[in-house]
């Protein structure tokens, strides 16, 4: 099962004694931290490095495995207090919180931080606040609209109240996002704030070069560990070097000499070739951390396009798919787990196993051919599969050719339409131009069923002139109603069970073919201790890492 592999992730340091303070942690990354403005970051905590600088109202529980999928308080004293129907959420700030310059953090700073994320200049963040807050859809940000957002109330310096348009039981998850980071209005420089964002966390930015390619973080003296139970902050200094080639990063971590012995990566997986290598080297294998992040790669159908309007065709394809070759194309069984459900295989999401169209390990072409005949295509069928040319092993040519090959056995000739990532996205996110058959993927904004299923299957989230993720353009009143109902629940366990059931139900319609869930395998340097990999992010949490 996925949980226990996650829990055992990272074992090397443990033997070498307890983690100590001090030293420099090197982070070797491929992508630069081009966005370092809390308003523009998308994910919970803004990912790994930003979460060392930005504190938010709530945050991820920094524990390995499934425990890591929980929300815990950060700046706030608790994970939020909802009113009865979960349309109003109140938070109280801890005492003694300070910015890096020593000024106290107030609820007004958090309100301002959220408000500025509505400015067009600072776009890029997650859409939830815009959709959920009263008046959020019309608000233009503090630069254009000086009055501010009335639905965020700060009765005193430590209290902040959010008024929502509808019940949102998962609000505490949203409060982990960096939009909830305090930003002192006096130090806001708009679009250039990201060059030196003001820290509220254990480290501050002392160097930011080449648009986030080279970052140096040092201790923020005004951060008080007593107010922060989550971040361990062992190293004295964090040195982030990005813009590196993935193969080189892995090679450096494997060699692990000099500064690289105290290095980790937050964005680079081991590739298949490197895995093959690691497999034959015990010492190296001990330094590999394994993680699971809620993510599904799938084939999307657009039933508005023939012949995918015919459920039998969609089912035939579901039967024909050879998940072994798809998984191999994604890097083999160590890097991908075959998927028959849309939801990732984690309790937090509400995973409920099902396999409506059992294709076995390698597909069932006979069954598929049979269905095709029934659907009126006795001589097979020719379809075009849209995919991207990015080398990401998710929507990339490797996966597409594996699909092509498997469907070929069932008499379905697949033509490939590979496009540059931009034009690929533009096409698959369009309601008007979306093709009938394409590769797609979806990842959770937080570990719960809501952000996983709602954008994909909620009929009211079909966006006609923007980015649409409801590829099947499913607008089923029953599904919509069930989503609303679950959102009202503040009991996340109960909600999870119902998301799982909903997933299973939608799955019957064969609106997509789940292909696989990725697994993250990452190397750490020899000196790295206390490797914690949660199922929330699937990668090691650098706020826990020690190099001494």
């Amino acid at each position: 099962g996925p949980e226990d592999t996650g829990a055992t992730g990272g074992t090397s340091g443990k033997a070498a004694g307890a983690p100590q303070k001090g030293g420099t942690l090197t982070v070797l990354n491929s992508e630069a931290q081009t966005d370092f403005d809390p308003a523009r970051l998308y994910t919970s905590g803004g990912g790994n490095v930003p979460s060392l600088v930005f504190r938010t109202l709530t945050t991820r529980n920094r524990e390995a495995g499934a425990a890591g999928t929980q929300v815990v308080p950060d700046l706030a004293t608790d994970t939020g207090r909802p009113n009865k129907d979960a349309t109003e959420w109140t938070y109280t700030l801890k005492e003694g919180l300070k910015f890096e310059d020593g000024t106290p953090i107030t609820s007004a700073d958090i309100k301002y931080g959220i408000e500025r994320s509505f400015a067009a200049e600072l776009s890029g963040g997650a859409p939830y606040l815009r959709d959920w807050l009263v008046g959020g859809d019309a608000y233009q940000g503090p630069y254009k609209d000086k009055k501010g957002l009335a639905s965020i109330v700060t009765p005193d310096a430590r209290t902040i109240v959010f008024k929502l348009r509808k019940p949102e039981g998962e609000f505490p998850f949203v409060a982990t996002q960096t939009q909830f980071t305090p930003v002192p209005k006096a130090r806001d420089t708009g679009a250039t704030y990201e060059e030196h964002p003001v820290s509220s966390g254990p480290y501050k930015v002392v160097r930011n070069e080449n648009d986030g390619e080279r970052l140096t973080l040092e201790r923020n003296e005004h951060w008080d560990p007593r107010t922060d139970e989550e971040r361990k902050a062992y190293p004295d200094k964090i040195d982030v070097r990005s813009g590196l080639d993935e193969a080189v990063i892995n090679q450096r971590l494997a060699t692990s000499t000099g500064a690289d012995a105290s290095a980790v990566t937050t964005d680079t997986n081991l590739g298949p070739a490197e895995l093959a290598q690691v497999g034959s080297d015990k010492a190296l294998a001990a330094r590999v951390g394994t993680g699971h992040f809620g993510f599904t790669n799938y084939i999307a159908f657009n039933p508005k396009v023939k012949p995918f309007d015919n459920p039998k065709v969609r089912r035939a394809i579901s039967y024909a798919i050879n998940r072994t070759s798809v998984v191999n194309a994604a890097g083999g069984s160590a890097l991908a787990e075959p998927a028959t459900t849309f939801l990732p295989e984690q309790k937090a999401f509400g995973f409920t196993p099902y396999d409506h169209f059992p294709a076995g390990k390698t597909g069932d072409p006979e069954k598929a051919a049979h269905l095709l005949k029934e659907a009126g295509f006795p001589n097979g069928l020719t379809v075009t599969l849209l995919h991207s040319t990015a080398q990401n092993r998710t929507t990339s040519p490797e996966i597409a050719t594996a699909v092509q090959e498997a469907l070929g056995k069932a008499g379905i000739t697949v033509k490939l339409d590979g496009r540059q990532p931009n034009s690929f996205n533009e096409k698959r996110w369009s309601v008007k131009d979306a093709p009938g058959f394409f590769l797609s993927r979806w990842g959770a904004d937080w570990p719960a069923g809501g952000p996983f299923l709602a954008p994909i299957f909620d009929g009211r989230q079909i966006v006609t002139n923007g980015s649409n993720y409801n590829h099947a353009q499913l607008n089923d009143p029953a599904v919509n109603k069930e989503i609303d109902e679950i959102n009202k629940l503040t009991d996340l366990k109960a909600a999870a069970a119902r998301w799982g059931a909903l997933d299973k139900k939608i799955g019957e319609q064969a609106l997509d073919v789940p292909l696989f869930h990725p697994v993250y395998k990452r190397l750490v340097g020899k000196n790295v201790k206390n490797v914690v990999i949660s199922d929330w992010t699937g990668v090691l949490d650098i706020s826990q890492v020690s190099v001494k």
Binding site: A247, G271, P272, A273, E274, L275, A276, Q277, G279, N322, T324, S325, V327, N328, A329, G331, G332, S333, A334, L335, T362, T389, A390, Q391, P397, E398, A400, T401, A402, Q404, E405, A406, L416, D417, G418, R419, Q420, S423
Partner: protein, 324 residues
């Protein structure tokens, strides 16, 4: 009245063929040239005969063999030397288990086609532009020189990305690659030709040709081209492999040939990280590429030498001496 009675009977036929025949005669005496020509010919034949050979082996380029790769270890082929066996002579591709022998052969088609095609375009345009800038007046030199600058400065990738997106999908991708690489890559040739032309045009035999009433075009063809042939052929021989590598780099950046069509470039770019886990996968395309490079270089060198009548007389005697 002549000092020496010359018993040489002139070669009959057109003078052009006469010269060509002489070149051929000189080439024939060089074993290295013949071997490399044979190697290239063999490669072309292998590429052309790929379907036949595939049938002989009983495999095809796109069939997956999931059972031949170890999924738990990143899809590395089972067995030694990339899973080579009686069924799969050169082993299989990691991750998919597709037959490498057949993919290499099919890859040769695209790679050779693109590389040779692009080189031809580059040389053709480069020589024409180089001659025009070298021989033409200030105005022509200025304008064409600046056009060359624009093309050198225009990153190939920008154009490749823009074009692969704009050109209709039905347009054959190899042809597109030939055009993109060809039209952006002639600057080197044109600069070399220009430089040589500037030096050559001050020589008396060019003056003599002007006196004969030849226009610039004729002078270029009759007097300059034979002297330009040496650097151009040398450069062309090195352009062919460079273009294969350019195709590989474009593949690496996602604008190469469309899958599942194999090309050496595409194979090399996916093989990048495999050289420890599955050396065969890297060595095969790299080795073939190397052989091609070597063959083109040696042949280019031999042709270059054979084109020079001064060199030839000395070579012949050399070989004769060895024989005696």
């Amino acid at each position: 009245m002549t000092a020496l009675t010359d018993t040489t009977t002139p070669v009959a036929g057109l003078p052009a063929t006469g010269a060509a025949r002489q070149v051929w005669r000189r080439l024939r005496t060089r074993p290295a040239a013949l071997v490399s020509a044979a190697v290239l010919l063999l490669l072309v034949l292998l590429a052309l005969g790929a379907p036949l050979l595939a049938a002989l082996e009983g495999q095809d380029a796109n069939t997956y063999h999931d059972d031949l790769v170890d999924s738990a270890r990143g899809g590395v082929p089972y067995g030694a030397f990339g899973g080579a066996s009686a069924d799969h002579w050169l082993g299989v591709e990691p991750g998919t288990g597709r037959d490498l022998f057949v993919r290499l052969l099919h890859g040769a088609r695209i790679s050779l086609l693109v590389a040779v095609g692009a080189t031809a375009v580059q040389i053709l345009i480069g020589v024409l532009v180089g001659l025009a800038t070298g021989l033409g007046n200030r105005w022509i030199d200025g304008v064409l020189g600046r056009v060359t600058d624009v093309l050198v400065a225009l990153p190939m990738l920008v154009l490749a990305v823009a074009l692969t997106a704009v050109v209709p999908r039905g347009f054959p991708r190899p042809l597109l690659l030939i055009l993109v690489i060809g039209f952006l890559g002639w600057a080197g040739t044109s600069r070399i030709v220009r430089a040589q032309t500037l030096t050559l045009k001050s020589l008396d035999f060019v003056a003599a040709s002007r006196l004969a009433g030849s226009g610039p075009w004729r002078t270029a063809r009759r007097e300059l081209l034979p002297s330009l042939a040496a650097p151009v052929i040398t450069y062309a021989a090195i352009l062919v492999p460079t273009n294969i590598v350019v195709e590989a780099s474009l593949s690496f950046l996602g604008v190469g040939v469309t899958p599942p069509t194999p090309s050496w470039g595409q194979m090399l770019s996916t093989a990048q990280t495999w050289f420890r886990a599955d050396p065969a996968y890297v060595l095969l395309p790299a080795g073939l590429l190397f052989v091609t490079v070597l063959a083109f270089t040696v042949l280019g060198d031999a042709v270059r030498t054979a084109l020079d009548p001064r060199e030839a007389s000395r070579l012949r005697v050399g070989t004769r001496k060895e024989a005696s």
